[in-house]
Amino acid sequence: MEIPEQQREIFETAREILERLLEMMDLPATVALCEEFTVLDDEGNAASIGLNIEGEDLGILIGRRGQTMSSLQYLLRLMLARKMETRIPIVVDVEGYKQRRCEGLRLLANRLAEQVRTRKTPFTMEPMTAFERRVVHLALADHPDVYTESTGLGEARKVVIAPKKIQAY
């Protein structure tokens, strides 16, 4: 996959900043394009750019519930916005952790949807980050029998999967 010309500079700058940050954290690693999180729009421009940090022993960079990874992503977006005056979402992954988590979440979402469909009662998932909730919402967006919504505030916000029609008895 090739990054479109217009976004190449953003990608290169993001990679430079991220590699510099990692070096300063004494965790030298390489940063590569992550195809899973690089999304092209209808005109072929990048709507989001995914970066994957590759190296040895990077668990420390993921952190509890991905907290360190989120901090890296948050700061990188800020630093990049200052430098490039652009607002393309940047997604930072470490060793494909986020990608695997997304795949797992999609499977889980579909399994739970099946359960909700047969039992006809809503199911509330564990609290998740905005990004993870989005994955679940998107995975079930076109589901014929269930719909999803988020409830709760802040750290405790969670997805509810509910049947679309309430059966009349």
Binding site: I17, R20, L21, M24, M25, D26, L27, I60, L61, G63, Q67, T68, S70, S71, L72, Y74, L75, L78, M79, R82, K83
Partner: protein, 75 residues
């Protein structure tokens, strides 16, 4: 430790030249005191301290590798 904070802070403020970090080490670990231009304070603290918190998270990783503790104070 101080280079990491300097690099991040300089990249997000309006007045990079006004960024200064003072590093002190004592028996409890390392204390970093970050000063920026008055108008930039909000830019390094962030909504509900989010930016300061993210910087502390990265510092903690680096400190853990060096088997020490680090505190970040914004003056």
């Amino acid at each position: 430790m101080k280079e990491l904070v300097e690099y991040i802070a300089r990249s997000i403020v309006n007045e990079p030249d006004a960024v200064n970090v003072n590093e002190e080490t004592n028996e409890e670990g390392i204390t970093l005191k970050l000063t920026v231009a008055d108008d930039d304070k909000g830019r390094i603290i962030g909504k509900q301290g989010q930016i300061a918190q993210a910087m502390r998270t990265l510092l903690r990783v680096k400190a853990a590798k060096a088997a020490t503790r680090v505190r970040l104070e914004i003056m």
